[in-house]
């Protein structure tokens, strides 16, 4: 018997048993769709998480300083890194750009309205290194030194505008007991995991100003840009030496973009595999559905099997007849499932405002696995059918 006539006959049989076929199909469809959707969404989420590094670049290194020991006198002045020392880190080999920053927590008031947010002391290089884009005005400059100027984040600027109806630029904000003049506003800032603050909700002032305002302020964070060929380990060692020469009691903690990317990628890989496994469970359930339907089908069609054997069908013919039905069920279920799965991931990406990318792998894997599952679970009933004794098969009602 030729393949084409097997397929024709298989289709006929599946159509004749409509409800049952649809049920089996749905099992495989849902299984495939869940695998494809889950894995695709996992990949999309990974992409989204790694997107920040595309704009930021992977050549960043963040250094945090903390006290090695609990020291009651930890605010003694010699235990602070001076701005000059911080900037001089840039003299270490392979470091291109240095952006130290400080954080200060003082109430900010505009026109009697409280502005929730932090104060950051920054240098001119900060904007460039962490991608703060100026909307109006200018950024903090080296020449500002101790000046009472500030650049306000996107959300702060919007708040000021809504309170006063005026453009934030040129207005004044009270920070603690001091009045700062706004010299610039920023555009929306693409968040990243290098700066421990949300710049959109912060105001940035000259770093020397923050150090003068409060004796507790110290430079505990420095963001560095490395040259592309830098060996991170060596740079880290050099920085450690540099710091310990000056401040023996400080401990350094590094976060490199490269390491972050690797860790994130690994995490989301585990996540994706996990999602895939959950999806696979439903796919297996779908497979068992196919098996169930095929078993019933074989039992119900015992007489048909007997008739076919009586007119000369071989065992392999009987096997092919049922196997093709199982394969067609899972092919169709798999194809529809892939379609549905991709659709679901598209909808999810719209809901979460993720950038949608079509990944070929999850549909390919989902489809292949679903067909394999159909064949695997179809095989037992098919084998049963082919081993049927024709006399018994013909006797049955």
């Amino acid at each position: 018997m030729q393949l084409i006539s097997y397929i024709k006959e298989g289709l006929n049989n599946l159509f004749a048993l409509k409800l049952r076929s649809i049920l089996a199909l749905t099992g495989i469809l849902v299984g495939t769709a869940s695998v494809v959707a889950m894995v695709s969404c996992g990949e999309l989420a990974t992409n989204e998480a790694l997107k920040q590094f595309k704009t930021l670049g992977t050549d960043l290194l963040a250094v945090s300083l903390s006290d090695a020991r609990e020291d009651k006198n930890s605010f003694a002045s010699e235990k602070k890194l001076s701005l000059n020392d911080a900037v001089d880190i840039g003299k270490i080999n392979n470091i291109i750009e240095v952006a130290p920053y400080t954080q200060l927590y003082q109430p900010m008031i505009f026109n009697g309205h409280e502005l929730n947010g932090g104060v950051m002391g920054v240098t001119e290089s900060f904007a460039n290194i962490v991608h703060v884009d100026i909307d109006k005005g200018r950024f903090i400059s080296t020449f500002d030194k101790y000046a009472m100027y500030c650049v306000v984040g996107f959300n702060v600027a919007n708040k000021i505008k809504s309170f006063s109806g005026l453009n934030a630029l040129g207005q004044q904000i009270q920070v603690g007991k001091n009045i700062f003049t706004i010299v610039g506003t920023t555009k929306k800032w693409p968040e990243n995991s290098f700066v421990y603050a949300n710049i959109d909700n912060a105001i940035m002032v000259p770093i020397l100003t923050t150090m003068a305002l409060s004796k507790y302020t110290s430079i505990n964070n420095i963001i560095l840009r490395l040259s592309p060929d830098a060996k991170i380990k060596i740079v880290q060692d050099n920085i450690n030496n540099y710091i310990s020469e000056r401040l023996a009691s400080k401990q350094t903690f590094f976060r490199s973009a490269e390491e972050l990317v690797a860790r994130m990628a690994k995490q989301s890989q585990i996540f994706t595999v996990f999602l895939g496994l959950i999806g696979s469970i439903s796919l297996i359930v779908g497979g068992i559905g196919v098996m169930n339907i095929m078993l019933v089908s074989v039992v119900e069609r015992r007489r048909e099997i007997g008739i076919r054997i009586a007119v000369g069908a071989k065992k392999t013919d009987i096997k092919k007849l049922f196997l093709i039905e199982a394969i067609m069920l899972s092919l169709l279920g798999g194809a529809l499932g892939v379609f549905l799965g991709v659709l679901i991931s598209l909808i999810m990406s719209k809901i979460w405002h993720w950038e949608f990318t079509f990944f070929l792998l999850p549909p390919l894997v989902g489809f292949t696995v679903s067909v394999a599952i159909g064949v695997f679970f179809g095989f037992y009933p098919v084998y049963n059918a082919s081993q049927m004794n024709p006399i018994d098969a013909l006797k049955s009602d």
């Binding site: 049989n13 008739i307 009586a310 007119v311 000369g312 069908a313 071989k314 013919d317 006399i391 013909l394």
Partner: protein, 227 residues
Amino acid sequence: MKLQSLVNFENLNKIYQADHGKFHALKNINLKINKGELIAVVGASGSGKSTLMNILGFLDRPTSGKYIFLENEVSKLKDEKLSEIRNKKIGFVFQSFFLLPRLSALQNVMLPIQYRDKISKNAKQQALSMLQKVGINHLASNKPKQLSGGQQQRVAIARSLINDPEVILADEPTGALDSKTSSDVMDLFLKLNKEEKRTIIIVTHDKEVSRLCNRIITLEDGAIVEN
């Protein structure tokens, strides 16, 4: 014309393993059937008629003894080969017709063609001419449900003829039919035997049917008592 041997049973036994011991269904059967014969196999139910028929059609294998079908020793052949011989050389007709309900009369007749090695291009033409031979070519597109018992049995006979077999094995072919259609079906068998020299073996307990055959084999408790 020299008689050609079609079937040769030598000391054939069939023993079933039942729950309560062994059941000796066929005992030392020796039987020769030549081409062109019209044979009735009769006997009470449980006498071994159906077992004999199943072994004749390779649906079952004997426990011991030799079965030679057209110079092939059946016990030495594999299932695959037997299916092939069954497809080409044997046509079955059953009491309850055994047509596939989802297929039309024509498709049912074409079923054995599908299992041939080579499928001829004019399979449909062949099937139609078989339906014409049994006198129901006008019902070719009907499903079995839309046909009467006699018409269904004619479709089954057309199906048994499609591969031009050496022998037609009919198991109670008139058992489910009234006397009028019974005699129509028997007329058809007689015609096929006389005009086409087809070998036909009919298992029956109907005296009217066996009376029409040239040779009657009577079975009793698994043994041939009259031949």
